[in-house]
């Protein structure tokens, strides 16, 4: 009895210590990595004049404003603005504040340049969000009250740059005025604002900078209209494009007299055809026109005289002008030539000669140059040196100086569209383990150091050594598969159409490829990356082949645009095959079927609801036809509030070359559109493995989980409350949650939440759904859980039935049958808004689950599923407590130690992806947004392996001590025995 009690105590103690999965501070970076990005750069402003740290301030398409170190490309500071708060322009004022204009010209903020602290924020009354211009006078003396001018819509705001107060405001015109160009002649108080009213009227304003008084205003209309682009050629000539984009219109506005002069582009450039674009630039007397095949530089000699200076063939890019002195400006031209880039700098005073000419070798996977920003520095011999910041087609950012790429940032990773994982190659024979572990002595030394660390005996130097050993662990960064399945490749698809493979060990880019089919071309003007799927995962038959992934895209944003397929090798990024499909891509269904070469079968549903089978081989068709009667699919039409279920059928003769199947509608669910709109649908992960159907509850009772892969969770909200929080009152808001079987169309369960609204996030796993929404009555966020149990198997609990064989356990489960289900649900308050919701998955589904909640603060919180158990009650019975049921509380606890991201943030969090490791206890978690974060977590601790901080040395020490004790006691007992015998 005593022994049993002792054992019980021991087990209890062991288990009580395994509840939390928190991290010690010195474990940061062992299993996790974090990468910071900013996104595709739109504007860049250099700050290099003063001595000290040279920086470049950038704004990006991810709504990030950041200050980067010009020497290394590291981020000094960074702010991610709200989703709808797009940055229009960025500038530096007073030499110490960064000014950003955002939200269609309605918000102006100033940030402290050294540390990024917000200094002031001003809201401008703009009639309609439109193109807006920020004008920061550069020639003002620092110390004077500098004004920042914002031109947006039809008004001008002048703000003080020290505190953001509006000094004056001028309404120019109530019509649809769009200011195109603003400039201030040197040392003058007059601002020229040039723009268009509507599409055919040109207008020029002369505004007093100090008071906002309109000194002069002149208007003239042009009968063939403007396309809305204009470029300033000199102090009194502006050049615009007409509505057909085939004529250049030079407009002179000297002294308020407006003259138009049309020039047919083909007269200037005989090979011109199609449409031209004006490149926004501010040169003295020079104009850059983008005609489809090249960029043409024109000199404006007079109102009606244009002269070609240079034609730069595509692909190339040209920078804005950089004023060096009052008379001189410099600009950069970058031109592609295979894998090289020619970098030229010219002065506008001498256009025939180059000041600087360099050639740079460029990685071929970055695509074309999209934007160039030029900056100068003083060489030691007092001449000008130039550097350029280059934005590439794949959204990466490079700094080029002295013919070299000084640094580069892979900023395409800030806009990941989809991701998947791939196994690494198996370790080849011949690579011995000894090489990895260097020598036994080193290994032991390391462990002794660690032991010292755990015993708190180590000196600071040794602590540092321990940390270094742990961090650079060669083991985790190898390019081969490991036993535990921790090392994998994360294959991500970015919005730029680039596919990158990241190593889970340290997050480095193993390979990257800019897919040619996802680049702009004549056949496909606006390609759009959609998804990435596993195409081929060889394990038995095709071992010698590398796994590959399928990248799916679309030509344009419409659903009926033709689809794009590309198959990429997962080990080296080679593109095996890529094609533009003849049909559109609406849904893709990876089937759990593989052909003889282990390529996964995929069904592509096009816009006409026809199904296309891929890969298009006779082998795959054969396999598919056997399974076709079992394939069901559904479509959710959010706008029409309809969910329809389909199967597939063959109408007429099956064309073996085409493999097109027709849909057969089986059921449809129509939601009443006056009271409900579909807000969200969620399904179980296809590859999720459930360990057991039975759930043993208290008193040795059994409940059978209703496990069906066909469960669809649908949430609908009241149409009035489909907007953001704050737009509806509790009385007019409600939320319905449905569980639908997608084979039969049967609604398994429906529950209503009165006074609740979106945004809704949901995750479905095993036999449960967890969803997050906003409760307007309590004005708090809420999370609900629905668990669904199979009632028809309830009788099987009877032992006698099992013995006599009267159970129905062996009865086949059919999706057609209508099982009796019971549903349990419960709701809890949750403090934060949620950006993303996911659940851990493990290899065999034995380990308990954790929810991964991406909070509004861009952190990822791990919450044990036990907190979302509908069987929780205020006072659980003794047996329920033993089972692990937590007493019911009204809100879910947030334990800071259970943040997976610990003290880091995944800025702009958009998605959380979980992948099982081979080790049952462990899940790999990859979360992405503007930043990337990867870690591995063990929801019930690593019960199946020794933890990383397991002290082998201590074990060795214990064994040695035991052996010594054994020897001593043996000697003692010998002695004693001898004494006994003598007696």
């Amino acid at each position: 009895m005593a022994i049993r009690a002792c054992l019980g105590l021991m087990i209890l103690l062991v288990f009580s210590s395994t509840i939390s999965t928190a991290l010690f501070e010195d474990q940061v970076g062992l299993a996790d990595w974090h990468q910071k990005y900013i996104g595709k750069v739109k504007h860049a402003i250099f700050h290099t004049q003063k001595t000290g740290r040279k920086r470049v301030v950038v704004s990006t398409e991810e709504n990030v404003v950041a200050s980067l170190d010009l020497r290394t490309g590291d981020i000094f500071w960074r702010h991610v603005l709200g989703k709808i708060d797009r940055i229009d322009q960025v500038d530096i004022t007073l030499g110490k504040y960064v000014v950003t204009l955002s939200s269609g010209g309605s918000i102006l903020r100033a940030w402290n340049l050294p540390d990024g602290q917000m200094i002031w924020e001003s809201i401008l009354q703009v009639s309609a969000p439109s193109k807006s211009l920020l004008h920061v006078p550069a020639n003002m003396n620092v110390g004077k009250d500098n004004l920042i001018l914002v031109f947006g819509g039809s008004s001008i705001h002048a703000l003080s740059s020290t505190d953001g107060q509006i000094v004056w405001r001028k309404e120019l015109s109530t019509n649809s005025l769009e200011i195109q160009q603003v400039f201030q002649p040197h040392d003058s108080d007059i601002i020229y604002a040039l723009g268009f009213i509507g599409s055919s009227e040109f207008v020029a304003y002369y505004v007093n900078y100090k008071t906002g008084e309109v000194l002069q205003q002149s208007k003239a209309s042009f009968k063939s209209g403007f396309c809305g682009e204009a470029s300033l050629a000199s102090d009194d000539v502006v050049v615009a494009l007409d509505a057909s984009r085939t004529y250049l219109v030079s407009i002179s506005f000297r002294n308020g007299v407006i003259n138009f002069q049309q020039i047919y582009i083909r007269d200037l450039i005989p090979e011109f055809s199609g449409k031209a674009t004006l490149l926004p630039s501010k040169y003295n007397g020079i104009l850059a026109v983008d005609i489809a095949s090249s960029i043409v530089l024109l000199r404006v000699k007079g109102v009606n005289e244009l002269e070609i200076i240079e034609k730069i063939n595509y692909p190339s890019a040209i920078s804005d002008a950089l004023p060096l002195s009052k008379e001189q400006q410099a600009f950069a031209i970058l031109q592609h030539d295979e894998s090289r880039i020619h970098f030229k700098v010219k002065f506008d005073t001498d256009l025939t000669n180059e000041v600087l000419k360099e050639t740079i070798q460029m990685d071929g996977q970055r695509g074309n140059i999209e934007k160039v920003f030029i900056n100068n520095y003083m060489r030691t011999d007092r001449t000008h040196g130039f550097r350029v910041l280059v934005v590439m087609e794949d959204h990466s950012l490079l700094l080029v100086q002295q013919g070299e790429i000084v640094w580069s940032r892979e900023d395409g990773l800030a806009s990941i569209v989809d991701s998947t994982t791939s196994e690494l190659p198996v370790e080849k024979e011949g690579v011995s383990v000894a090489e990895v572990e260097h020598s036994l002595f080193e290994w032991l030394k390391g462990h002794f150091l660690k032991l010292k660390g755990t015993l708190m005996l180590a000196s600071p130097d040794e602590v540092a050594a321990i940390q270094a050993i742990r961090l650079k662990s060669f083991e985790k960064n190898k390019m081969t598969r490991d036993h535990n399945g921790f090392r994998k490749l994360i294959i991500v698809l970015t919005r730029a159409g680039k596919v990158l493979a990241l190593h889970t060990g340290d997050g480095r880019v193993v390979w990257s490829v800019l897919l040619p089919v996802l680049r702009k071309s004549e056949t496909c003007g606006n390609p759009f990356a959609l998804n990435v799927y596993q195409w081929q995962v060889p394990h038995h038959h095709a071992m010698h082949e590398n796994p590959s992934v399928l990248v799916v895209g679309r030509c344009g944003h419409n659903f009926d645009a033709p689809g794009i397929f590309s198959i990429v090798d997962a080990y080296n990024g080679k593109v095996h095959n890529s094609l533009v499909l003849e049909h559109s891509v609406r849904h893709i269904m990876p089937l759990p079927l593989t052909d003889s070469t282990e390529q996964n079968l995929h069904i592509v549903i096009d816009d006409n609801l026809h199904a296309h089978l891929y890969p298009k081989t006779s082998d795959s068709v054969k396999i598919f036809l056997d399974e076709m009667p079992n394939i069901y699919w559904y479509s959710v039409e959010v706008g029409k509030n309809i969910i329809k279920g389909y199967s597939l059928e063959i109408k007429g003769e099956l064309d073996m070359a085409e493999n097109v199947f027709q849909p057969k509608e089986l059921w449809s669910i129509v939601f009443p559109s006056e009271s409900e709109t579909i807000a969200l649908t969620a399904t179980r992960k296809m590859n999720e493995i459930v360990h057991t159907q039975a759930k043993i509850v208290a008193d040795q009772d059994v409940m059978y989980k209703y496990i069906s892969t066909n469960i669809l969770f649908v949430a609908t909200v009241a149409p009035k409350a489909s907007g953001e929080i704050g737009s509806a009152t509790p009385e007019e808001a409600w939320l319905y949650a449905y569980l639908i079987d997608t084979v039969s169309g049967r609604i398994l369960h429906r529950v209503s939440h009165q006074g609740a609204q979106g945004p809704i996030h949901a995750v479905v796993s095993e036999n449960w759904v967890v969803y997050h929404y906003f409760n307007l009555r309590a004005h708090r966020h809420e999370m609900s859980v629905i668990e669904i149990y199979d009632q028809s198997r309830e009788d099987n609990k009877d032992v006698w039935k099992l013995v006599l064989g009267k159970h129905n356990l062996t009865a086949p489960i059919s999706s057609y049958s209508k099982p009796e289900v019971t549903v349990k649900s419960q709701s809890y308050f949750f403090t934060h808004s949620v950006k993303s919701l996911a659940v851990t998955v493990t290899a065999k589904g034995i380990t308990s689950k954790q929810l991964l909640i991406g909070t509004i603060g861009d952190q990822v919180l791990a919450l044990d599923k036990r907190f979302l158990d509908p069987r929780r009650s205020v006072n659980p019975t003794q047996s329920e407590k033993e089972e692990g049921i937590i007493p019911l509380t009204d809100s879910l606890p947030i334990v800071p130690q259970s943040y997976v991201t610990h003290a880091l943030q995944v800025e702009g969090l958009r998605g959380i992806v979980t992948t099982p490791a081979k080790l049952e206890s462990t899940t790999l978690v990859f979360s992405y947004g503007v930043d990337l974060f990867f870690t591995r977590i063990a929801p019930s601790r690593t019960y199946d392996s020794l933890t990383e901080d397991f002290s082998y040395a201590l074990l060795l020490l214990t064994i040695v001590a035991l052996v010594a004790a054994l020897l001593v006691t043996w000697a003692l007992s010998e002695k004693k025995e001898l004494r006994e015998k003598w007696r």
């Binding site: 103690l13 602290q117 755990t454």
Partner: protein, 193 residues
């Protein structure tokens, strides 16, 4: 260890005069001005301001995002009348979301309450909320923690068996042992009746 962390949310009803008098077409809303204040030094010795550098103030779950100024003030502009939710995202601190009611009937009347503990913010000091500690604190080595670890327990148990069990047997009465043995024997013998 726990330091006082104060959050003042000062709701000043200082609307843009122009927008109130004549609601313009773009923004006919009100302004919510508040203040986030973290007092004292944190346990790591950072100044309060550097901690708040990256603090974001989020309205209605991401509809609007703004940042705090150096003095801790923030403002949301053009917020329509109704009930809104403000959240503060600052790494290292736990802030309760704040429910803000802007009255439509009495323009300019704003009420606020913490949603976590339903505490009304009237003239407007929030109870100190907690500071978040994201890492476990490593306990210094102690003999107790070693004994509590599985390995220590196993060793303790082994020692117990080795040294105490024989003692238990020794301490038993010889008579009792004999009786127990007898009893066992009789139990195992087949009964013949």
């Amino acid at each position: 260890m726990k330091l006082a962390l104060l959050l003042f949310v000062v709701l000043v009803s200082n609307f843009l005069p122009s927008s109130l008098a004549a609601p313009s077409s773009s923004g006919d809303g009100y302004a919510i001005t508040g203040r986030v204040k973290v007092e004292g030094m944190t346990s790591k010795g950072f100044g309060a301001s550097s901690k708040l550098l990256n603090a974001k103030i989020i309205l209605n779950g991401g509809q609007n995002v703004t940042f705090v100024r150096a003095d801790g003030y923030f403002t949301f502009h053009n917020v329509p009348a109704g009930t809104h939710l403000i959240e503060v995202a600052a790494l290292g601190y736990f802030f309760s979301p704040v429910r803000v009611d802007i009255s439509a009937r009495f323009p300019g009347k704003i009420q606020a309450a913490l949603t976590e503990n339903r505490k009304a913010l009237h003239e407007l000091i929030l109870e100190p909320l907690r500071e978040e500690q994201y890492y476990e604190i490593r306990e210094p080595f102690s003999i107790m923690s070693f004994l509590k670890s599985p390995m220590g327990l196993m060793m303790g148990f082994m020692l117990l068996v080795i040294f105490v069990m024989p003692k238990l047997v020794e301490n038993m009465d010889p008579e009792e042992i004999r009786r127990a043995q007898e009893e066992m024997r009789t139990n195992f013998l087949p009964r013949s009746s």
